[in-house]
Amino acid sequence: MSFTFPAIYNFPPFFTQQPTADTWSRQRALWVQLVLSYCASHRLFLVDLNELSVSPLFTNASISRSLNRKAIDAVFEDIVAAGNGEWEDKKSRSRCFVWWKRPDEWAALIYAWASDNGQKICTVYEIVEGDVTEGLEFHGLHIDAVKRVLEVLVRQGRGQLFYGSSDTDMGIKFA
């Protein structure tokens, strides 16, 4: 799957944290957009900032520029603040769920699939790895991410979680 970077990706100042506050917040907004579309395109659900900072997303080899870690952190703060991300580790802040679809959107998709196909009870493994969801959007969703989605369904009163011996054994009973 090839991802086409926007034109701004080749703009050298894009990789320098701008000292002017207004410009910097505008720049961050552009970065948030780029990160979300990049993760959606690469189906990244949980990202490690240390890995991502050396990925093509934050390093443009053609103009030999890269965004520094401080700026990357600031971009992710914005993503989390906007509800498009969630720290997996709140203390060290190096791993982050990227909700390029928000948890409630995912929850709605899964619930719709379940009710369409008459699924009453299924395990987490079935939802993200099972043959029946092959080709569906949430197929391949990160296991930790899907747990958070299912918790949304529970909160909405549309399901009930049950726990098995391991994470993949965990299941949901749709209401």
């Binding site: 080749n10 703009f11 050298p12 100042p13 320098t16 002017t20 410009t23 505008r26 720049q27 520029r65």
Partner: protein, 547 residues
């Protein structure tokens, strides 16, 4: 503008009243004649018309130059002048009652006695009424037939008021002198010798037109104290007196400078050829040698020792004056040098403008540089501490503002303080100022409402810019540079950006200043930076344009 019509006191000539110049009143310095140099100034000087105070000319700055006394009003732009050549004598009256209530106290005054020799000619030139020319004419009382001076209105003998219908009949029938050595009394017709001032028969005073030439000669001779005292009597008349009241002190310095200026007769020199200007130095040497000769004729004893000490002192003095002779010569030549520089630059300008019509319009860069040097050498009468005393900083600020008005365009309207220090001192040529003085005067700009401002950038860089030189204007200009750079490189969508070095060369400013200008523009959000290992390049702020 009711003040416009205010008539200056007698003898004073209004030489300028211009609200048209960009300078505020506080920023005005007196306009100078050719070869004229300013000597000293004192604030808080009021003018008197005869013996009475003039309300409209009560507070101003009084300058003495080599040629004139100039008075500049504090309230409006009035500039009045009184040429030195008209001044006959200078007297200082030291005021009293400094600790008394204001109503009782009197400020020290300088009383200038004018020689009426110049009145008729100068009053014609200046267009003021020749009201003083008839000052010594007598009138005859219609009651007791006594003769009274024209300036009193009541007969001194009988106290009856003067009848206007019989005003000054004496002058009307004034007969011509019989010969060069004789003159006829206008009152009793007795024929006197031309040297006397009072009729030997009736004791009446002779009209001034004839006595004044004598006064001139007696003043030049200046040895007969009796004679000059009597001359004083004749002219001791309200009509020939100009009073300056010094309410803020400084009278002694002013009087000293004024006397010096009058005795050196600088105005006569400018009329002569410039070659004769350095006549001052030989005369000082001459006096030194003369005094040496006197001292060598001493005797013995204590007086001999004293004389010997004196002699050594004088030899020391002479050595010193010899040592500084070159410096003095340079100072006295400074105005000549300035004049020469101006004439050369004018000639160059003429030459280039005649060239530009033809194919040879491209100027030699050396020629341009040369001319700019000449323009820089442009302050003919630099303000010094000795001249202005307490007001030094203010006067320096005015001079600086005038100078900046001429040069700041070449620097794009903004100039670093250090650069200004260099070019300003180069323009002064002599009497260099210290960095502290410059900084102090520049700090005065805002308070004195001069059209320039000092500014400190975040980096600590101090600059001076014209007050209408706003950040907006800077930002727009810098953005233009950056956009033009983008057009120049069409290969890349985003252009290559500009470094502060590029901007410095485009703006003709120093790199430090260019960087500050870029930072201002960046603060406005018009440009953004690319900070890489190659340094900082500035680009147009494309973030705000993208959705």
């Amino acid at each position: 503008m009711e003040r416009q019509s205010e008539k200056p006191p007698r003898h004073w000539t209004r030489i300028a009243k211009d609200a048209t110049t960009g300078l505020t009143e506080a920023g005005r310095r007196p306009p100078l004649l050719a070869g004229e140099t300013l000597l000293t100034m004192q604030r808080g000087v009021g003018l008197y018309d005869g013996a009475s105070r003039c309300a409209a000319f009560d507070s101003g700055a009084c300058w003495t130059s080599s040629h004139r006394i100039l008075w500049i009003s504090d309230t409006d732009g009035d500039v009045l002048a009184l040429p030195h050549e008209r001044i006959f004598s200078v007297a200082v009256a030291g005021g009293f009652g400094q600790f008394m209530p204001a109503a009782l106290k009197s400020s020290p005054k300088i009383t200038l006695t004018l020689s009426n020799y110049f009145i008729s000619s100068s009053s014609e030139l200046n267009g003021t009424a020749p009201e003083t020319s008839a000052s010594n004419v007598t009138w005859k009382c219609s009651i007791c037939d006594a003769y009274n001076p024209d300036n009193i209105r009541i007969c001194a003998q009988c106290g009856v008021k003067r009848d206007p219908s019989t005003s000054s009949p004496a002058t009307a029938q004034l007969p011509q002198p019989l010969s060069a050595s004789e003159k006829q009394c206008p009152v009793c017709t007795f024929i006197n010798h031309s040297d006397v001032f009072f009729c030997e028969a009736c004791d009446s005073r002779f009209p001034s037109a004839q006595s004044s030439s004598k006064l001139e000669s007696s003043a030049l001779g200046s040895k007969g104290s009796l004679q000059s005292a009597s001359a004083q009597n004749i002219l001791d008349d309200d009509d020939l007196m100009v009073k300056l009241s010094f309410r803020q002190g400084g009278i002694n310095e002013f009087a000293k400078a004024l006397k010096g200026a009058i005795s050196s007769k600088e105005w006569e020199k400018t009329q002569k050829s410039a070659a004769e200007i350095d006549g001052i130095l030989p005369s000082s040497l001459e006096s030194a040698t003369k005094s040496l000769n006197i001292s060598s004729s001493g005797g013995g004893g204590i007086s001999g020792i004293i004389k010997k000490v004196d002699q050594t002192n004088q030899v020391l003095d002479k050595t010193l004056s010899n040592a500084f002779q070159d410096l003095d010569a340079l100072m006295s030549k400074a105005s000549d040098m300035t004049k020469m520089a101006q004439s050369i630059s004018a000639r160059l300008a003429a030459a280039s403008s005649s060239n530009s019509g033809g194919a040879l319009s491209v100027e030699d860069p050396e020629l341009i540089a040369f001319r700019s040097f000449l323009v820089d050498l442009g302050i003919s009468s630099p303000v010094t501490k000795e001249m202005t005393g307490d007001a030094y900083t203010q006067e320096l600020a005015k001079e600086l503002s005038e100078f900046l008005g001429k040069v700041i365009k070449r620097y794009g309207g903004i100039i670093a303080l250090t650069d200004l220090y260099c070019i300003f001192n180069r323009a002064r040529g002599v009497a260099l100022i210290s960095p502290q003085d410059l900084q102090k005067s520049v700090a005065q700009f805002e308070r004195m409402r001069l059209p320039f401002r000092m500014r400190k950038f975040d980096s600590g860089l101090l600059v001076v810019h014209s007050s209408d030189y706003s950040d907006d204007a800077i930002a727009t200009r810098i953005l233009n540079h950056i956009q033009s750079a983008k057009v120049a490189s069409v290969t890349d969508d985003w252009g290559v950006g500009l470094t502060s070095l590029d901007v410095a060369s485009r703006e003709g400013v120093s790199i430090v200043l260019a960087k500050e200008l870029l930072l201002i523009t960046e603060k406005y959000g018009l440009i953004c930076r690319d900070d890489s290992v190659e340094g900082i390049r500035f680009y147009r702020n494309s973030f705000v344009e993208i959705e």
